[in-house]
Subunit: 307 residues, 2 copies
């Protein structure tokens, strides 16, 4: 692994009025006009469930219910997935359900200051990337550091550069396995280090590796973003996955009544021609037999609203 830092920006040279030679600054592909699709083109809402979204004793039972609801994505927990893989793949046979993302399940964390914890992260995360590739999954969701995870590298430019370098290695590994790293911003109570979708996207841009992507979770976005559409437009081409939940209590969409408005975010996803999944990550206050179909209906209705 190459620990050398990239001086991708020439620190100290960029002052007010400073004149730089163009070639000192990399050619940026950002800030270009995002692709906006013709509104007449229909962008599908691809919904995905996690393992716990529906009640049920087996994959087959859950997949049957998902098919009834027209759900075409499934997001398994990464933890212990290898052991459940055979049963899951067996149950998926002949169904129109794909593995969307794999939700975490690794050990350690990437920003750990302890070499052993970092190495444990690298080993177990790569195992999951390999598995994601086998399963045809878009990627493995990663939070760089939860607040509870200590000792963590400090929130400095050096840490940012180190993260970019490390993600570059993981991105290469992910690409070889036809999958991706998925950076997930959380709200500040869970993970202060990475809170905004635009910051995750900026990291992806700096890494500049197709194997490193990001996601947005409507639940966390409620607290950290001032604009759902702004956040998704910033994610742009780096967006590979989306999580959804009700916006007050992280329950089924609709259980928090009118607060559960996803229209502005959906509008951006449609304009971006987003082809990935919108995956449920939430609990339920009411009976799932009622709240899950109601949530699916609500999201589909909001997706259809012109804006």
């Amino acid at each position: 692994m190459n620990f050398n830092r990239r001086d991708f920006l020439n620190r100290g040279l960029l002052g007010a009025g400073a004149v730089l030679i163009g070639s000192q600054i990399p050619v940026l592909t950002s800030c270009e006009t995002p692709k906006r699709e013709d509104k007449t083109q229909k962008v599908p809402l691809n919904l995905s469930f996690q393992e716990g979204t529906l009640d049920g004793d087996s994959f087959n039972e859950k997949f049957d219910k998902m098919e009834e609801l027209g759900i075409t994505g499934f997001e398994p927990w990464g933890s212990g997935l290898n052991a459940r893989k055979k049963e899951m793949l067996e149950a998926l046979k002949g169904r129109n359900i794909k593995i969307s993302a794999i939700c975490a399940g690794f050990k350690g964390f990437i920003l750990s200051q302890e070499e052993a914890v970092f190495e444990e992260f690298m080993t177990t995360y790569k195992d999951l990337l390999r598995l994601a590739g086998e399963l045809g999954s878009v990627g493995v969701i990663m939070v760089p550091a939860f607040n509870r995870q200590e000792p963590c590298r400090p929130h400095t430019i050096e840490t940012r550069e180190w993260l970019v370098e490390t993600l570059s290695e993981l991105g290469d590994f992910a690409l070889k396995n036809n999958t991706s790293v998925i950076l997930e911003p959380l709200n500040r109570n869970e993970a202060f280090y990475l809170r905004q979708v635009s910051d995750a996207a900026s990291i992806c841009r700096d890494v500049n590796n197709k194997g490193v992507t990001c996601m947005g979770d409507f639940w966390h976005m409620t607290f950290e973003e001032t604009s759902d559409s702004g956040a998704f437009f910033s994610a742009g081409e780096y967006l590979s996955h989306v999580h959804v939940a009700s916006r007050k209590r992280r329950s089924m969409p609709g259980e928090d009544d009118e607060t559960d408005n996803y229209i502005d975010g959906f509008k951006a996803l449609k304009q971006m021609n987003y082809q990935g999944f919108v995956s449920f990550e939430c609990g339920s206050i009411g009976n799932r037999a009622d709240t899950v179909p109601a949530a699916v209906k609500l999201l589909r209705e909001q997706w259809e609203i012109e804006s």
Copy 2:
């Protein structure tokens, strides 16, 4: 000043699947659909120059040239402004030119860990807010901490909360003076603490005080934002000012050729019905007598482009 921290989010309670009572979480005005104006409505491009944008020996000479170019905003440096105020106001009489923002000029910095430096900041920044009010300016631009400013509070949630509290006091002071605090994100080489427009907007949202606003600078955005429109949509109602420069060398817009594309950002500003100024903050490689009118022409052309 109230140094008590706001526990505006109930830290530790918001875990996956956690059920919270709705009233524990503040009503958020974010994530609502941003106001999109009817495209038939014409949003004006209000351009502004800084003191150094044009050559000239006096305010009158510069204002004459600005009027010839149809420039309706003027952004003075805050430093020593009180001494230049009389001459400036005299020269502005009878002209269609308003003071846009006041560009810094205070001493100390808000995130200083040294009480004396912090107090110097508060005193001199408030002096400028008072002056901004007198001059009818939208606000005083502030960078929370340049990289070179030490010792600085660490980039933690505690610092964020402390900043929000302190800005709340300044916002009240600004409001009493009919002006605002303007948070400016810079690129990481100048100020790692605050780099993205969405983060500045998120701070404004947390402060929840009309006297605290933010801005975007196309120059810094080139390096830190993945989407100009995404950044401005995130700024939304908190956006009070915009800076513009060429995108490779921070010169006059157009001097870096096709890199100087502002169309995506302008599109967002138009959709947001942005009524503030787009103010030049840049040097010039060529002769200003040529490059300034060319830049004005370029920006007006790009503003007119439908997207």
